[in-house]
Point group: C2
Chain length 190, copies 2
C-alpha cells in the first residue's frame, strides 16, 4: 500500500467510518459481518483492517465519531440546539440504532465503557462551560447548578433518541424542548 499524506489518511478513515456506521445501523453490531462491512464500505477487509484493528475498534470509533459531532454541535449551538439537530436529522433512525448498540456494549464491555465515559465527560465539560457563561451573562437562571442542568439535558437527549424511531412526528418532543428552555431561562418568583 503506498504511503498516504495525513490528509488522505484522514479522508480514507472517515470514508471507512461512514460505511461502517451504515452497516452497524442496518444489521446491528452482531450481524454486521466482515463481508457486509466490506460491501457497505466498498473496500476489502485488508484495506479496512489496515486502518482499524478489528470490528470492535471500528464500532468504538464510529461511536466516538458520533459523540465528537454531537459535542461540536453542543459547543456551537448549545445542548438544546444539538438535541434539535438529532431530532431533525434525516438519519434519525440511525442515531437510535447506534445508541441501542452502544448501550448494550456499555453494559457488557468495560473497555468500551471506559472510553465511552470519556466522551461523555467531554460533552459534559463543553455544555457546563457554556451554561456557566450564559448564567454569568444573565441569559439563563443562576440559582440552579449547571451540572444538574446538564444531567437533565442528558436525560432528555437519551429520551429523544429512544423515542425517535417510534415517534409519529417530532412536535411533542419539540414542545418538551421549549419547556426545558423556558425552565432554564426563568428566575424563580421572589
Amino acid at each position: 500500500m503506498p504511503r498516504m499524506s495525513e490528509e488522505n489518511l484522514a479522508s480514507v478513515r472517515a470514508e471507512i467510518l461512514r460505511g461502517a456506521r451504515e452497516c452497524f445501523i442496518t444489521y446491528g453490531y452482531k450481524d454486521a459481518t466482515v463481508a457486509r462491512l466490506e460491501a457497505s464500505i466498498g473496500k476489502s477487509r485488508g484495506a479496512i483492517f489496515h486502518h482499524f484493528r478489528n470490528k470492535d475498534t471500528l464500532f468504538l470509533e464510529v461511536a466516538h465519531d458520533d459523540m465528537a459531532r454531537m459535542t461540536q454541535a453542543a459547543r456551537e449551538h448549545g445542548m438544546i440546539g444539538m438535541i434539535r439537530m438529532v431530532l431533525h436529522s434525516p438519519e434519525r433512525a440511525g442515531w437510535w440504532a447506534m445508541r441501542m448498540e452502544i448501550l448494550r456494549r456499555v453494559r457488557t464491555d468495560p473497555c468500551f465503557r471506559a472510553k465511552w465515559e470519556l466522551d461523555q465527560l467531554a460533552l459534559q465539560e463543553v455544555v457546563t462551560d457554556r451554561l456557566r457563561e450564559n448564567a454569568a451573562r444573565g441569559r439563563i437562571r443562576s440559582d440552579v447548578d449547571v451540572v444538574s442542568m446538564y444531567h437533565l439535558l442528558d436525560l432528555v437527549l437519551e429520551g429523544v433518541m429512544a423515542k425517535l424511531p417510534a415517534a409519529a412526528g417530532t412536535e411533542d418532543m419539540q414542545r418538551a424542548l421549549q419547556l426545558v428552555e423556558l425552565a432554564m431561562r426563568q428566575e424563580p418568583q421572589l
Copy 2:
C-alpha cells in the same frame, strides 16, 4: 384442565407473566425460546399457551402489565414519583431490557405499536389530569400547558430507562429530577 375461579385464573396469568418477563429480560425476545419460557415460568408449553395465544401475545401482555403498573404508580405518586420508582427499582436492568425489546417491536410490528400507543395514551391521560388538578390548586405553575409538561416527563422517563443499566449511581438522575420538579413548581418572574 379443571375449570378455575376468576381469582385463580388471574393469579395463574400473573404467575405466567412474571416468569415470562424474567425470561424476556434474561435472553431478549428472540432467544426466549419456548423451552426457556417453560423453565422460567415453571409450567409446560401447553399450560402457558392455554392462557396466552403465542409468544407474541405473551410479550405484549408483559409490556402491557409493566405499563399498567407504571400508570398506577403515576396515578398515586405523580409521574416524577413513578420515575423515581423506576430509578430505585431493584430490577433496574430489567426495565431497560424490556424497553429495548419494546422499542424494537414498536418499529417493526404495527399491531404491537397500536396497542402500545393505547397504553401510552392511558398514562398521558392520568398524568395530565393530575397536572391539571395540581395547577388548579396552585401547586404547580399554571402558565405552561400540561401536555408539554407530560411530554417532557415522558422524555425524562425514557432517558432514565436508557441510562439505568450503565449508570454508576442514580445521583445525577436524581438531581435532574429535582430540577424538573423545581421548573414545574415555579411561576415565571413578573
